[in-house]
């Protein structure tokens, strides 16, 4: 009952690609250009409801919310990308070494990983932030550190699964070097699993970053941030609900996009 497998481009992947692509585009453009200045205040245009002139309306200082969302999205995109890059790289390295070789290093890394994984991630970030102080670099560093264990765990378990595979034993028999086995023979086979966790990692980073900004311990002005906007907007919920809705929905949009993207990759692999 073998049928030729067709690589069907599934709808999750399409939707995810569209949503993340749009958000990334908006964010990257937002770093360099926004329709209105994000700092110019205008008493005349305070709390304007969404209109063609101001897509998402204006805030308590008469600033254009759409422009501010674009700018905030830019911050989010940059921070989450760097966080994923940082934690993913360390995750692969440590996960590969501990998974393949086991031993004492594995024991130590796993104990730490377990402890960190069991720990509410936001709490650990708070601790690191309170030591390092807030600000953009420190947010990236602290989130980067906090998310390393989640990658280690996935990469490690894949390496453990594959290190006893017949084809890896064969690679050892033919005398391939350890690093070659690790990174040429095994690594390509874990990418489909790894990409899914990268997508999840993006989401965790975005949620954590905006959460910290909401609590006032994330990036600091003049850096724009969706979380900070939300906490500002909360006070005007009665008069200007769109103020809170715009940054909130922006976060939902990008998180949903990455989630669908990840699901799409996962299904692509299963089919």
């Amino acid at each position: 009952m073998k049928t030729q497998k067709k690589r069907k481009w599934n709808k999750y992947l399409t939707a995810g690609l569209f949503m993340t692509g749009f958000a990334l585009l908006l964010g990257i453009v937002g770093i360099f250009w926004t329709p209105y200045s994000t700092t110019a205040m205008s008493a005349a245009e305070k709390f304007d409801a969404p209109s063609l002139r101001h897509l998402f309306g204006t805030d308590n200082f008469g600033r254009d919310i759409f422009s501010r969302v674009m700018e905030g999205m830019g911050t989010t995109v940059v921070i989450s990308s760097l966080v994923v890059l940082f934690s993913g790289t360390f995750g692969i390295l440590l996960g590969a070494l501990t998974g393949y070789f086991g031993g004492l290093l594995d024991e130590i890394v796993m104990r730490v990983t377990d402890a960190v994984n069991g720990f509410p991630s936001i709490l650990l970030t708070l601790v690191i932030i309170s030591i390092l102080g807030s600000g953009r670099q420190n947010v990236i560093l602290s989130l980067g550190i906090v998310f390393i264990p989640s990658y280690i765990r996935i990469v490690r378990s894949e390496f453990i699964r594959l290190r006893d595979a017949d084809y890896i034993m064969r690679a050892r028999l033919m005398g391939a070097g350890r690093m070659r086995i690790l990174f040429v023979h095994i690594l390509p086979n874990i990418f489909s699993v790894f990409w899914v966790s990268v997508m999840i990692g993006f989401n965790n980073a975005i949620l954590a970053e905006s959460g910290m900004s909401y609590l006032g311990i994330g990036v600091q002005p003049p850096d724009a941030s969706l979380g900070k906007m939300l906490s500002d907007a909360q006070g005007y919920l009665q008069t200007a609900p769109w103020y809170a809705l715009a940054p909130g929905l922006a976060i939902v949009w990008v998180v949903l996009g990455f989630a669908l993207f990840g699901e799409g990759i996962r299904r692509q692999k299963v089919d």
């Binding site: 069991g118 936001i122 030591i131 959460g211 909401y214 919920l237 809170a244 998180v255």
Partner: protein, 319 residues
């Protein structure tokens, strides 16, 4: 039993390591605590005096030993920032005392909501044969999972507080004054924490059940003449629940994390808010205790889940 003791030892070890880590972390912080407490009133003499008062002039190891022995005796130390009366520092235990139940109840209420809704929903979903329903639930849960808890809190406030007027935003009443009002108010923050987790758990249970439904023993059950209902509840549910239990255990940590943020949204006087304010004012005795406390709760729940798992799954308890 041997396993139980081994687990207990690991639990204590972990707590010990966390206590050391938490203590050490705040030793390497740049900046002088004393100077920042005194602010503009700082003079070398007063700084020296305060340092002595707080025990900061002793070597770190000695301070850790003092701290941990006091802790074991039940003395949680004193806050740097909060005072009691005129010249006394506020004991951390008193500071935490009335805030703890708020957070605890919030977590319990969220967990109850999660379990009560997600499990029936997951089973219903797995058993439903309607393609439309399947797709609709897929979209709804996927979206619900993407909403951060603080935004959800704001949405809940807007919908239930401002539009429907089911509660007064910011109108928290303490449980001593009005238990009914307390729980009524708490319901909404709990909802904000629970909704994304409900979506996650329901999805997880559904997938777990669908996987189990493909196993060989299900075919055996059908070959005996079991109805679909009997297969689902009599054979599959129990096995499908096992990974879900672990999953629910892991959610505990996230509920705690969620409550830190959600307390802020709803203006709840819980330990989450205390933690954040203590971190920004560098009130380390409070922060250390709170970290230890949260760690303890999370690890203890893991421990309970682990034990529960052994009771349910005969394959593990054998070893």
């Amino acid at each position: 039993m041997k396993y139980f003791i081994k687990k207990l030892i690991t639990l204590i070890m972990t707590l010990f390591f966390v206590s050391v880590a938490a203590f050490l972390a705040f030793q390497i912080i740049p900046g002088d605590v004393v100077a920042s407490i005194l602010g503009t009133e700082a003079t070398p003499e007063r700084e020296e005096q305060l340092r002595e008062e707080l025990g900061l002039n002793k070597p770190p190891l000695q301070r850790y030993a003092d701290w941990i022995t006091d802790l074991l005796r039940g003395d949680l130390g004193e806050s740097y920032r909060f005072s009691k009366g005129m010249n006394e520092r506020m004991p951390v235990s008193e500071l935490i005392g009335d805030k703890l139940p708020v957070t605890l109840w919030l977590a319990v209420l969220s967990m109850v909501l999660i379990v009560a809704v997600s499990i029936p929903l997951g089973v219903f979903w797995a058993r439903s044969k309607s393609r439309f329903l399947d797709a609709a639930l897929g979209v709804i849960t996927q979206t619900a999972m993407a909403v951060p808890s603080f935004f959800l809190g704001i949405l809940v406030t807007y919908l239930f507080g401002i539009l429907l007027k089911a509660f007064a935003p910011g109108g928290y009443v303490s449980y001593q004054k009005d238990p009914a009002g307390f729980f009524q108010y708490l319901l909404f923050p709990a909802l904000s924490i629970a909704i994304p987790k409900i979506a996650m758990t329901a999805r997880f249970l559904r997938n777990s059940m669908l996987t189990e439904l493909k196993s060989d023993y299900v075919r055996t059950a059908y070959s005996k003449g079991c109805t679909e209902r009997r297969v689902a509840y009599g054979h599959v549910l129990r096995n499908a629940m096992m990974p879900v239990i672990t999953f629910l255990g892991m959610i505990i940590a996230e509920i705690v994390a969620g409550s830190i943020v959600v307390e802020q949204v709803f203006g709840l006087p819980g330990i989450g808010r205390l933690l954040i304010s203590s971190i920004s004012t560098r009130d380390f005795p409070v922060v250390e205790i709170l970290i230890l406390y949260i760690t303890f709760v999370v690890i203890f729940v893991y421990f309970l889940i682990d034990i529960l798992y052994r009771v349910i799954d005969p394959r593990i308890s054998e070893k």
